[in-house]
Homo-oligomer: 455 residues x 2
């Protein structure tokens, strides 16, 4: 994270909008909150679902070479021994000799406590996994861990997936799920929290093709964000140098986003080599190799891992969409969310409370609701109602007025341009469908199957 170049959007404004409109609340708020846990409200849960569905659609359903998986959060403790997490998934901590607060050594500039200024102890290692006890007795033998990443659930099921799907290399396994890390330093809203959701792909390839597939996935994942509306100038690639590489990685690049607090990791793409399959195979005694029926050879595939965060993605999409625009004497706050991600797709707004207008508006509302998430709003002036919808990113408002009763037409008002068009009621649904679902709404990525680095 580089604090020198903060993003254009103020984090406080995002947090405030999320709180005020029901995207994201502090967890257990009536009890004073629980450090770095967040609850997604009525709009936030829709945004998050839309992100996850867009990811699943792109990486699983539309691909011939990928299948999904959903493994449990609680896993056998030996998994974490084999993966190296029990031994190596640690942060060095120091403790203040006076006030006893603990700190990450990389957060300290000198060996003085940032809180009270006293001296701190030597660092000692602290494992970041949450532990709990399964079964009725609390003892060593029953200790299990909340998974710190979803990836291991994929590795241990490699043979299960292989035999039940009869997939051939190259192919991938994708998973969305919660993970937990007992981070000492959390913060920046939903950017770093102790409970979070991951979208991970483990893509199994022949070792000699690993570099090409690494580049392929860099481009593929970058373009996923671009297709869903993230501005290119707010994305960058950052290659890990040798000192920074995790113990399992042959190479790794982060897709960074220009968050309010600066450039920070949005997704990591790693070439994990054969580390994971070799480790689990030797630890479990089960063969985790791949038999090539053409060459009659056994190989341990290499793994390319694009690992994204649902919460970080949500934050990036919100920040990137946020805008304040001068509109006459006012400031218009608008979320230019991609229609696919917008929590509410259409708002139905009657311009009068007269019975016939309300009746027609409610009919249209009932008719549209099975197709999309639709809001109905008849409170206050039409200007205020447009503002409310702009602020939560609703792409289209449909207004019904007295004239609608005569000419059977309604007005569609578009969020970004504020343009209005008049459409016949019988064509309303298909007009909205075309506007919401059409590929023309995408900012199409540059072509080419391997990313060339000109981004």
């Amino acid at each position: 994270m580089s604090k020198e170049t903060p993003g254009k959007v103020d984090m406080e404004k995002i947090v405030s909008l999320c709180r005020r409109r029901g995207f994201i609340f502090p967890g257990s708020e009536i009890y004073g909150g629980l450090s770095s846990c967040w609850d997604y409200g009525p709009l936030g849960v829709e945004l998050k679902q839309n992100i996850k569905q867009a990811w699943w659609q792109a990486v699983v359903r539309e691909r011939d070479d990928m299948v999904g998986l959903d493994t449990s959060i609680l896993m056998h403790p030996q998994v974490w021994e084999a993966s190296g997490h029990l031994k190596g998934f640690t942060d060095p901590l120091v403790e203040c000799k006076s006030c006893h607060l603990r700190w990450r050594t990389d957060d300290l500039k000198e060996s003085k406590c940032p809180s009270c200024g006293s001296e701190v102890t030597e660092p000692r290692l602290f494992n970041l996994m949450f532990k709990t006890f399964m079964g009725p007795v609390e003892e060593q033998a029953s200790t299990v861990y909340l998974r710190p990443e979803t990836a291991q659930g994929i590795f241990v099921n490699f043979q299960n997936v292989l035999t039940t799907t009869r997939k051939r290399l190259p192919f991938g396994i994708a998973q969305i799920g919660k993970a937990f890390r007992n981070e000492v330093t959390t913060g920046n809203f939903i950017f770093r929290s102790r409970e979070f959701e991951q979208m991970e792909i483990e893509f199994f390839v022949k070792p000699e093709t690993a570099s090409d597939w690494f580049n392929y996935w860099l481009e593929e994942r970058l373009n996923w964000y671009v297709k869903l509306g993230i501005k290119k100038e707010n994305l960058r690639l950052r290659q890990h140098d040798k000192e920074e590489l995790a113990h399992y990685a042959r190479q790794c690049s982060d897709i960074d986003y220009l968050f309010p607090m600066g450039w920070s990791e949005l997704e990591g793409i790693a070439d994990r080599g054969d580390f994971d399959l070799v480790q689990h195979s030797s630890s479990s005694g089960k063969s985790l190799d791949y038999f090539d029926e053409e060459t009659k050879e056994h190989t341990v595939p290499y793994i390319i891992e694009p690992s994204a965060g649902v919460d970080r993605s949500a934050l990036a999409f919100l920040c990137d969409a946020y805008d304040e625009e001068a509109d006459k004497d006012e400031i218009r706050v608008v979320l230019h969310l991609h229609p696919r991600l917008a929590p509410v797709k259409v708002a139905v707004l009657p311009l009068s409370r007269r019975e016939a207008v309300v009746k027609l508006a409610k009919e249209l509302y009932a008719d549209l609701r099975p197709c999309w998430m639709v809001h109905y709003d008849d409170a206050q002036s039409i200007g205020r109602r447009y503002r409310r919808q702009d602020e939560i990113g609703t792409p289209f408002c449909v207004t019904i007025d007295f004239q609608s009763l005569e000419d059977e037409q309604v007005t569609i008002r578009e969020r970004d341009t504020m343009n209005q068009i008049r459409v016949p009621i019988p064509t309303l649904k298909e007009t909205l469908q075309a506007k919401l679902g059409g590929e023309d709404l995408f900012v199409l990525p540059p072509g080419g199957s391997i990313w060339k680095g000109e981004f």
Copy 2:
């Protein structure tokens, strides 16, 4: 659970099918498994997603009086004090004086250990919540719990939702998420496990209307299962008598399903009265009442809670769909899953490996895949391929043959009837759309807005 009337389907056959075809694997299987944790494979994850989406569509998106929420698994410990879980969410356990195994008292017929026959101790209470430690120090102050139900996340956010959505009574909040219970006795496959997924509604109503809404939700939820294909004779309602009622419940009824091991709870519908809001209000010191703008009165709403399990639903849908049919000299194993729930909607099967046929088949496959989950299979005889698709519940197979190259038609074969129809390729997508999405595929429930008990 009544063992006297087991369901018609053998559990072992379901478990075996799930394992063999990639619906559900034992968790951490290469390490010998982790007691009662399960991993959903490529087909299982699709089934589960389809169940959750069907539920969300029915209870949130298509309703004007419901919003969604997604709260964190880790909550402030005071939540569990206020809810009564810290004190009361316990099982009485006895320990064998000889072999030290522990047992639930209600699993014992006499005070002898079922394993070795020795005497057992007096029962003592054992809390079913998983505990863990947040922050760097393991001590009382940092103890938090994995939520044993998603409901409390809704209660503590009641005011947040109220102020951000401006909803009026009656309205509900719906949530899907993981919950954890350190059950002593688990089993019956995914029926009772320590990590599971809930689909819960908390529906807030004026106290005097609670009974009507309780009945409304009984009917609504029963019909949800029926609409998605569960046979009516395999569903029943079971009212809790006074001794069985949980401490928070004014009344409660289970929707039971005839599982392989007998009638067992699929979903519970409880009238929780004002218990939860009163408890959390008094514990947090925050007002959790509702101000009625018409009557200018403050009330604490009553809560009707339809609480369903994703895993139990999946098991019920699988059992209900499972059938073995005599077909010529063979047994046809088929899952008659509702098309909406089926993991794979369409299979594309070329009848020849000749280049022109394969080319056309792959074109159709690529064309259909963005719309639905589609499989391509060209291995072995067409009979074997139909069987493979029947066994995983794929509603439609599309076969491409030599004639297709000439007349530009393909064959659609329907899973349940095994009927085949020939359709022009340009109309294939819309024909499948009509068959997959049409309301005519639903077994429509009997009308009436309040359930009358004739079920």
